[in-house]
Symmetry: D2
Subunit: 345 residues, 4 copies
């Protein structure tokens, strides 16, 4: 089988680096071009020393992308920048997997409200799929543009989808208390990610207005068939990788442990990257892998359902899910190139 010719646009961040790590050992992929505007001309290991002797590709400007005969490009770019590239590549033959937030929401107006900036390519929303393979398999398979989900929404939506889909909970009384490792905030040095700001510390941020609130809410609304209203609170963990979402929902009626478990088993049975685990998962047990580990239980003392959802934000929450999407878009086995066993400890 001919290998897919792949481009990675913006390789100097954590997501770009992780895409290279995963795609480099994918049996059906040939990384044809890796771009960086700020480091064009340098070799990848000068930016990411881990790739020394492994991927010594010279970084080039994204201007060269259209000169190659690519099958697919991954956009690992900041919000706001990414939409410009989607626009620019509109007439190209290759498919696009966009890892930014620019095309994740249902419509430009919502984007402008929650992201606080104009959307310059509203046409892009027309033929895009929301790239969560467990929920939108066929849309992804047929899409030219896939909007790869946010990291928090991946953990949160996978945790809640079975409940909401089965109509078991009040979608207007859901609390998602989520905690993420620091790579989720990007590679750019800021006072908020200085080692001594984050280390031995813990805090909430983005209260009430974090952009992932609306992303979670829109997908769950679609699944619930009625308005969902999500209280989403992110926190910053002093670790590199990993998200744990602790989810609280109020049952609509009588529920029990056995019923709950079977709803999740039915929903995720055939899906290789969701593991239903028997104990509350730790983020480290999925580190470096594309798994989402889920645990669900009912508390009859308080009449609440609790869901715990753990992912690696750079893999299942970004680069791994993006490669999963690529596999679907090109008819490959969905696990191809994603067999990484978690690295623990």
């Amino acid at each position: 089988m001919r290998k897919l010719k792949v481009g990675i646009i913006g390789a100097t961040g954590y997501t770009g680096s992780e895409l290279v790590r995963i795609l480099q050992t994918h049996p059906h992929v040939d990384i044809d071009i890796i771009t960086s505007e700020s480091y064009a001309g340098e070799e990848l290991p000068e930016v990411h020393p881990l790739f020394h002797s492994l991927v010594e590709t010279r970084l080039v400007s994204s201007d060269e992308v259209t000169e190659r005969d690519l099958d697919v490009v991954f956009l690992a770019l900041p919000h706001g920048v990414s939409m410009e590239y989607v626009k620019k590549y509109a007439g190209q033959d290759f498919k696009i997997i966009d890892l930014s937030g620019d095309f994740r929401l249902n419509e430009p107006a919502t984007y402008e409200d929650w992201y606080g900036k104009d959307h310059t390519y509203p046409e892009g929303f027309q033929n895009r799929a929301y790239g969560m393979p467990e929920l939108f398999h066929s849309e992804i398979a047929n899409a030219q543009l896939v909007a790869n989900p946010g990291c928090y929404p991946t953990a949160s939506v996978l945790g809640l989808a079975p409940l909401v889909h089965a109509g078991l909970v009040d979608p207007r009384r859901i609390v998602v208390d989520a905690k993420s490792g620091t790579t989720g905030a990007g590679i750019k040095a800021k006072p908020s990610n200085h080692f001594s700001t984050v280390n031995e510390n813990f805090k909430a941020y983005g209260l009430k207005r974090h952009r992932h609130s609306i992303e979670i809410q829109q997908i769950l609304t679609q699944f619930a068939g009625q308005d969902a209203r999500i209280q989403f609170t992110p926190h910053l963990l002093p670790i590199d990788r990993g998200i744990l979402a602790t989810i609280y929902a109020q049952p609509n009626g009588a529920i029990n442990e056995r019923k709950l478990k079977s709803v999740y088993q039915d929903f995720y049975g055939p899906h290789p990257f969701v593991r239903l685990v028997e104990n509350p998962p730790s983020v480290k047990q999925v580190r470096g892998s594309n798994f989402c580990d889920l645990f669900v239980t009912y508390d009859d003392r308080t009449d609440n359902i609790l869901v715990l959802s753990a992912i690696d934000n750079l893999v299942k929450g970004a680069a791994g899910q993006a490669v999963h999407n690529m596999n679907l878009m090109f008819g490959l086995d969905e696990t191809e190139g994603l067999g990484h066993i978690p690295v623990h400890p």
Copy 2:
């Protein structure tokens, strides 16, 4: 003024060590005896090297306690063990501040249900006070035995008391999603606190049945004047010290930001160790100090009240609060010996 003669029973754990750190520089305290059954005969710095040249007291067996003419003893002992000491010291002149969970709940039966063991000294409950100075000032001042609150209940109850006291929220729909540093789990080496189990990791534990659930619930029920029902979920943070409780409550009626802030200001105005802060607090900004930093806000999109409460679990959540209680029990200024400025970073 004559200094108080103080005994510390069980100095080899984190709480005992922290009691020594605080009491050693307290202007009205003379540490007369420090006990340890397992290290009797050794000097304190052999167990805790930080005290080298500072507190070179020889550790003795607790048998010697009744031979000294003490004013107060602090029990820094495991649950179940502590009640035996309270029983043994029943006829003594000195006052007791118990840092275990043995006398925190309202009655022995609840203890036996949630702690899973018999209570061997039910008489102890009669004349004990719950040692949370902001809520039970006069009871503490008059008590012979003070049950020092749990670390999670300290953060949680201080965060919720103003709301529940003012009747602003439904006490049956409260979620406390709490995260604690590892010292909260004690000094004894176990697989669950191995460095490589905790480091770069994060997980929930004690779902639905953590003992602090009932402690929080009982105090809030008392304050609400009606049954409270608390969904409490603790998580283990890869840090040494610090608790952040993220609290979600549903308002009973119309509420707004300004009203909320003023309720907290009125409630905590005169209390020196509660700081109402203008941004979500980090646990590091209170580290090493006796402060509880509180932030409250209302989300009109979801109709939820959010409270964030940060403490140092070993100080405000244990040894510092215990010394605060001692100050009240002996008529000292309540801030005496507790002027530690947070150590950051």
Copy 3:
């Protein structure tokens, strides 16, 4: 090609777990049996949740090993225990790769001196190879028993071998100041590896008499053709994985930067897992991989040669090197199954 039938003896520690992680995706390996005396009867994911849905093998007692038709067994057992298994398996057909220290030194007497216990199977030393592929390729290829090197010796010897082999330095004046992550000290919970003992901390240990001193010294003596005398000081890093050895050596005569670099290039040219890097390496740039990253430089102000050597102690320092040895022992390509790209960050 028929797959090798492999046994892993002692799978519940970090080294055993890492062996499973690596061997499970090795194209020429079939993990036939995984043993544990303490967890026999349980499935592997109950001990190591990372393997959920991946390796659900039931753990059995090592008594079953001789009933299987194995090609090779890996002993991931404590020092002192391992030699008993080597003895027991002496007449078996399968080859043995021993990850303990029991057969690393040149002779039983030295073992007894430095390990402080009797050696119960001195016969084992006769046909064993020291499993450092870059130095003892042919011995390993022909051995029935391979003693897999210690983690510190791996980093230290690889860093020094070119210098000592070329006779460039005084072998009696070498300082190895080494720092290791906590997994190097094993999985058993002890006060010394309690999270709050290690976290935010750093200290030296095993001064003057750490067992790896003599292991390093023996190999270098062999290479130098004269007595080496190594000052080796290990330190405990508050990280999971990784060793950095900072090495100081005194040149025998005139030396310069260019000469130094070329000596290393000549020595390691054909070896796929040693990377000569252009900047001082960080331990994170090799994490999860089988690489040893080396940097060498000369300081003309002080007339010292400095070498920096970074490995992942669980991979190149243990399980990865063991699989590398297996590849040599069975005539496989030496990189087979070891293509893990470092996981960073």
Copy 4:
């Protein structure tokens, strides 16, 4: 006694913050002015939330310094900037304690060589003392300007001074392998101090040419009465605070453990902040305190002397030592205001 009126110039970094923490509880100090050019007009807790309700001083421009009637100012400014302030304040009545590197070396020429910039106030060197109280007590007491030592030199020189002073070691063959927490690199956000660069990582930096090399070397040369030549290698630890220097020296003649210990005891006997400890010290056992913990031993196998020296880089290595100097300069008890017990864990 009248309190000293103190100014802190540059309060927004770690050293400035730590000066406030220490001086605020100093019984003979009144913090009269705290300056910041970038945050002038804001209150201190807006920059450092730990000071909420404790030190709510409004930050002002340093232009106001000369309008106050100060006794002493602390310069917590970057290298190169600090000398301008020393120059500007040359005619003022107040004394100056400079925490930068601008006046630490013996002469401007050496500064220009190692710091790579011109020195604009060479006159400042004439009447300055090197502020290491254990070594230069009387010079400090009489100085108008004190150059507060670097953090690494504090740990290194205190570790070596007794050996070099007694002529016990070859001063040309000393290796200082030092490891520091991240606060040593300052508060300014840079890629090198991004959380995910430092966390779970470890590396050497500044090989051969770190500025502290020459600072250590000059002081030891002065003490040795002959040229010292120090091989100094700093490393970055994934912790906030703490330096451990592991020091290797070659004895000039016969030496033994008992002799070594007594040399150190004689040298540091009367000095309250140097603790001679019986086991290799950890950095955490001095955290938050002004102690330097020293351990010395002799290895007869290799004929090397090993010294381990642990400090908190922000206290003994910066702000604490500066306050110690202030105490000497104003005839106060040298321990005044410095009684902080280490915060552990």
